[in-house]
């Protein structure tokens, strides 16, 4: 009997902690989003799902929703594709590996906001470093106004997103690679496997659980990532680079629609929750099979 209660008792402290830092704010959000609230968050009458219907009737929100999906897929996907080869190279034994690892990890050590600020300067149309570099290389004949429209601003934001996501992803993969025993490769080489075959048959399958972790964690981070887009364009011009968090911030703190902002927040929470549950289930089923 006691042994059946025991696990619950043991998880109780962390459950309580989770309740305070997660459930309580979520409950608060539900309260705000189902009420008419003033701009200082004081609740007025119950309004049901009015805030949600208003949200989905707003084309800016719907556009931001799709763009968030695109942003997450591109940044997470790009970071994964880039990190696997980077991690494999850094896992090899070569002179100066320590230095190379530090260089790859450096963007991680700089605050995201600072990185974004520096890029904002670098992408400045008239006095930015990027334009002057491209000009000197003879690649462009007149300045490109990078942040003036979404066509150039959003791809740059995605690239910067990838750049800052690579260090973390590489770290995960490096951990994974070091857990693969060397003798597998030796045996494969003896049997005459090419490096590509070794990658496909040994490295990739054994790295899979780590890739899964990287996908889940990165998706959560990137989906919620605020500084890059906010600092560079504030979601503009005309909301054309808005993702859900920047849209939420404007709704809440510029315009003062705390009810709708809370609704956005809950929508984001639900999307991430569903994604994580489905993904973890799929990944685990695959591992068991």
């Amino acid at each position: 009997m006691q042994s059946r209660i025991m696990p619950y008792l043991l998880t109780l402290p962390s459950l309580l902690l989770a309740a305070v830092v997660i459930f309580w704010p979520v409950w608060d959000l539900i309260q705000i989003s189902t009420h008419d609230v003033n701009r200082f968050g004081q609740l007025r009458e119950f309004s049901g799902l009015a805030n949600f219907t208003e949200l989905f009737a707003d084309p800016d929100f719907v556009a931001a929703l799709w763009r968030t999906g695109l942003w997450t897929v591109l940044v997470v996907g790009g970071a994964l594709l880039l990190s696997i080869p980077v991690a494999m190279i850094l896992n090899m034994d070569f002179y100066g590996r320590g230095l190379a690892r530090v260089i790859i990890m450096l963007p991680w050590a700089v605050s995201l906001t600072m990185t974004a600020v520096v890029w904002r300067w670098a992408l400045n149309g008239e006095s930015g470093m990027l334009n002057s570099a491209l000009m000197k290389l003879g690649l462009i004949s007149q300045n490109i106004q990078w942040l003036a429209s979404a066509e150039t601003a959003f791809p740059m934001q995605v690239l910067i997103g990838i750049l800052v996501t690579v260090p973390f992803t590489t770290t995960i993969f490096l951990g994974g690679l070091s857990s693969i025993p060397d003798d597998l490769y030796e045996a494969a080489a003896l049997e005459g496997a090419t490096p590509f075959q070794q990658f496909r048959e040994i490295t990739f399958p054994l790295l899979k659980p780590f890739i899964n972790i990287a996908i889940v964690l990165n998706t959560i981070y990137v989906f919620n990532s605020f500084p890059i887009i906010w600092v560079m364009t504030q979601g503009g011009p005309a909301n054309s680079t808005d993702i859900l968090v920047t849209h939420l911030y404007k709704l809440a703190f510029r315009i003062g629609k705390l009810g709708e902002a809370s609704a956005v927040s809950l929508v984001m929470f639900a999307i991430l929750l569903v994604f994580t549950m489905i993904y973890v289930r799929l990944a685990m089923r695959e591992q068991r099979a």
Partner: protein
């Protein structure tokens, strides 16, 4: 427990209370907006002087950058942890008054105190006959022009009308600089458009309280800017330049004309002392109408403040002539104090004279709830027009509809 121990404990407890009590009773917390690097040091100076003159009162500041001020106040008020006094944008005041968080100051204001102010700047903080805030900062906008570029392009004097401005911009473009600096990003993107709109005789709100964006004047103004963008009379990439970006271009001598606030003079003095520039009126429209944007920031007292009398003492101190002069001159604002305005610093300053001359044409942000949302809607519409992703007619119509929906809600 022996009696001695008891007494010691009690004494210790009492002395702790005694230490804690005055810190609580006489503490005035102030949320200060950081206008520039000089804001913090100025207020520290105030603290020193004020506390020396008023023993028992301590001042505690929270210095917050402008960008996050409204966010901080929103969260503070929601949580009930707001300070006693705060600087706010006067355009937010109506929300604070309607939600009953701002304390009316009428009971503290003596006629002598009220008489210190220039009416134009005090009146935006008065609502329904009650004074809810005091203008801590006041500013207006005028046109800066680069004298060197003007000379090189053969332009004798700053343009008096928008048509002249267009011609001058063409001449400046011909010598390889940007004619007119047009702001197209972030805060006050909408205001930059109003300058042209006001000169067409159109106001932000029509007389019947609907949005002015659907009037012919508004369309004329939008078309004017759009044609200048298309003709290359502005800097390239308008929608990537916020006010500071355009100011930087002006300081670098790359822009012929731009409209901005008096603080640019201070920045030029420090960062580009060799730049030859002048300040002129904002150009007028075909009928001679013109408008500049007047802004005040107010310092308000919160209704839930527990130290209102102490807080008022600080306000009284802040609005003396000497304190005002120190602050205003450091930040590059306009004087709000009558006596202060008579000081040599202001009287002999040609730049500031151009700004004060425009004050009769100043429009302040309309006092309506939801103003920030309407500003955002207008800025978005302008960005679409500048980018060419929507026709001026369509963008303005859409914006007017949205703005009217906001206006109707209240």
């Amino acid at each position: 427990m022996s009696l001695a121990k008891w007494t010691v404990g009690l004494l210790a407890g009492m002395s702790m209370l005694a230490l804690a009590a005055p810190a609580d009773a006489g503490e005035v917390r102030v949320t200060v907006a950081e206008y520039s690097a000089k804001t913090g040091p100025y207020f520290e100076e105030v603290k020193k002087e004020f506390e020396a003159a008023n023993p028992g009162i301590t001042i505690k500041y929270e210095v917050v950058p402008w960008d996050v001020l409204l966010q901080k106040l929103t969260t503070d008020i929601t949580a009930g942890t707001n300070a006693d006094l705060s600087i706010i944008g006067t355009r937010w005041l109506i929300d604070f008054v309607q939600q009953d968080v701002a304390e009316p100051l009428d009971s503290y204001i003596k006629p002598e105190f009220k008489d210190r102010f220039i009416d134009t700047f005090l009146s935006p903080s008065i609502m329904d006959g009650h004074t809810y805030g005091l203008p801590i900062a006041a500013s207006a906008r005028a046109m800066y022009y680069n004298k060197e570029l003007f000379e090189k392009a053969g332009i004798a004097k700053p343009p008096a009308t928008w048509t002249e401005l267009q011609e001058d911009a063409r001449k400046i473009k011909a010598i390889g600089a940007f004619g007119f600096g047009l702001q197209g990003k972030e805060i006050e993107t909408d205001v930059y458009y109003y300058y042209a709109m006001w000169s067409q005789g159109t106001e932000i709100l029509n007389k019947d309280g609907t949005s002015g964006l659907s009037t012919p004047g508004a369309l004329e103004a939008a078309k004017l800017y759009k044609s200048m963008v298309d003709e290359g009379l502005t800097e390239p990439g308008v929608t990537s330049n916020n006010r500071e970006d355009v100011q930087n271009l002006f300081k670098q001598g790359k822009v012929g004309m731009m409209i901005t606030a008096p603080f640019l003079s201070n920045q030029i003095k420090e960062e580009a002392p060799n730049l030859k520039y002048g300040v002129a009126a904002i150009p007028a429209g075909p009928t001679g109408a013109r408008g500049t944007y007047g802004v005040t920031d107010s310092i308000i007292m919160f209704k839930n403040s527990k130290n209102k009398d102490e807080a008022w003492k600080l306000l009284d101190f802040l609005f003396t002539k000497e304190q005002r002069a120190k602050f205003t001159q450091g930040e590059g604002f306009l004087p709000v104090n009558k006596e202060e305005a008579k000081m040599d610093y202001y009287v002999n300053n040609a730049d500031l004279a151009a700004f004060t001359a425009l004050l009769p044409d100043a429009r302040f942000a309309p006092v309506i709830p939801g103003w920030e949302e309407i500003a955002q809607i207008t800025s978005d519409a302008m960005q679409k027009i500048y980018l060419g992703s929507a026709k001026p007619e369509d963008a303005l119509k859409e914006a007017a509809d949205k703005a009217n929906a906001v206006l109707k809600k209240k």
